[in-house]
Amino acid sequence: FVVEKLIDLAFLEELEEKLILSDLGVETTMALLDPFKNKILKGEPVTTSDLKRELKRISLNLLADYEKPFPPDGKPGVLFFLGVNGVGKTTTIAKLALKLKEANKKVLLIAGDTFRAAAIDQLKKWGERLNIPVVAQQEGADASSVIYQGLEKALREDYDFVLIDTAGRLHTKYNLMEELKKMYRVMDKLVPREKRVNLLVLDATTGQNAISQAEHFSKAIPIDALIITKMDGTAKGGIALAVSHKYKLPILFIGLGEKAEDLLAFDKEAFISAILP
């Protein structure tokens, strides 16, 4: 049988290291551990299992919940993907498109990255692989006009879902954030807000900068949820907990690889258990 141990400051220090190494961040880690530190200093006994149970409970509550149906109910449901460069937006679109197609939905992709070399090519290749149509213009075209064209087609041809790819953009770049706002206004003209989901894609290997990303993107347009990619690496994605809590952003999916099948619905328990075993 297991002997119940009482925690001490050394134990907390080891736990602090583990949490920080998971990218939970100093602020969240201290908020979680300080109450227990104070208990120890006051001489109150806390067992390791008490601590673990409590931390798990608190952490689970820090993760925001998605209060609406996903995918959205109306037709066409518009899934708009945004995020900084290289996080996995285009690949994630392919993954989610496959899921929707497998659920017998009529899916359309819009190649809204008109800036980066071969970005349109990349999405088109995914479209061919999955046998899903892609609306695109040429590199250098106005992204908002491609989006408008795509949404018109979706409405006209009765698509169930539209997934919109956008160029990676650093959240600190004014004109790129303005472009994002313009895309949002354009979508507003054709599809009501309640049918649209704005998905911020975050890379699991990202550190504290994810907070700034969420901050700036949320200020530009309303963000509905997060997708955390590259969770198949060794990074634990702990910063997603801080972002989810601070900006009330639920995590909907995690990316676990480079293939179209590698997208999993977010499991709160599994996520927390990986950080707090």
Binding site: I20, V26, N85, H171, N209, G233
Partner: protein
């Protein structure tokens, strides 16, 4: 910034006359928090603090009229020192010199390959670009388009060929056409992906690159240490290129990676355009990590 944080944490010391060793310990805790918030690895922070503790507890600080400036200077100097003293160039000794780029998915390798080619062309070299990424859709097209933009020869291939085959053929072409540098882009890969790390190893063994550069995202968190260490152990790196530096990521991962591998940071990617590549200077990154 750090100096303000120290002021706040050690507020009131002036009423006590001067700083005590206990005040210094408090100051070190503040420095620790600042470094962790800048994404420096937990264990690297520990070692770093141990190195500056002795200097921080010295008479030069305790007796100083401006102890905070002293402490911040000590931290700054140690950061610059750890990040690598002075700028280190590329080793272009053989002909053709092979530069092999590697790293995690999406870190900026393909774009950086283009940037390096332009950088070298401007300095009178004749680079040839090649992509060995046979996995990502339109990866080869991406580098081809970049090459065309900067008017640099591109060794075209089809993803149906193997990465190693493409690399070897590109090397032959570089040799036969008098190109003095061959820049090899590779597919993004996880450091824990056995097959792809083996592929990278065989690329290295076959090409014998003079430079094997890890292309790493400036916004990486604590995991940067694992990634850099593993790539270095498996393949042997000669340098690091940090990308997306023009954002607001503090870049602490750079310190961690340099510390655990000893590999010099050679360049910084500072934008999406092919001109956006800078030679690394430790001072600027040190100020940034300090906040």
């Amino acid at each position: 910034n750090l100096s303000e944080r120290l002021e706040k944490a050690l507020a009131g010391f002036r009423d006590r006359g001067k700083l005590s060793p206990d005040d210094i310990k408090k100051g070190l805790r503040e420095i620790r928090l600042a470094l962790l918030e800048a994404d420096v690895n937990y264990r690297v922070v520990k070692d770093f603090l141990a190195r500056i503790e002795a200097r921080a507890l010295s008479a030069e600080v305790l007796e100083s009229l401006t102890p905070f400036q002293q402490i911040v200077k000590i931290v700054y100097d140690e950061l610059v020192n750890t990040l690598g003293g002075k700028a280190q160039g590329l080793n272009l000794s053989t002909k053709p010199t092979v530069i092999l780029l590697a790293g995690l998915q999406g870190s900026g390798k393909t774009t950086t390959a283009g940037k390096l080619a332009l950088f070298l062309k401007k300095r009178g070299h004749n680079p040839l670009l090649v992509s060995t990424d046979v996995y990502r859709p339109a990866a080869i097209e991406q580098l081809k388009i970049l090459s065309q933009k900067i008017n640099i020869p591109f060794f075209d291939a089809s993803p149906s060929e193997g990465a190693l085959e493409i690399a070897n053929n590109a090397f032959k072409m570089a040799k036969n056409t008098g190109r003095d540098v061959l820049i090899v882009d590779t597919a993004g890969r996880l450091h824990i992906d056995e097959d792809l790390m083996e592929e990278l190893q065989s690329l290295k063994e076959s090409l014998k690159p003079v430079e094997t550069l890890l292309v790493a995202d400036a916004m990486m968190g604590q995991d940067a240490v694992n990634v850099a260490k593993t790539f270095h152990e498996r393949v042997g790196l000669t340098g690091i290129i940090l990308t997306k530096v023009e954002g607001d990521a503090r870049g602490g991962a750079a310190l961690s990676m340099k510390e655990v591998t000893g590999c010099p940071i050679k360049f910084l990617g500072v934008g999406e355009k092919l001109e956006a590549l800078e030679v690394f200077h430790p001072e600027r990154l040190a100020s940034r990590i300090l906040g």
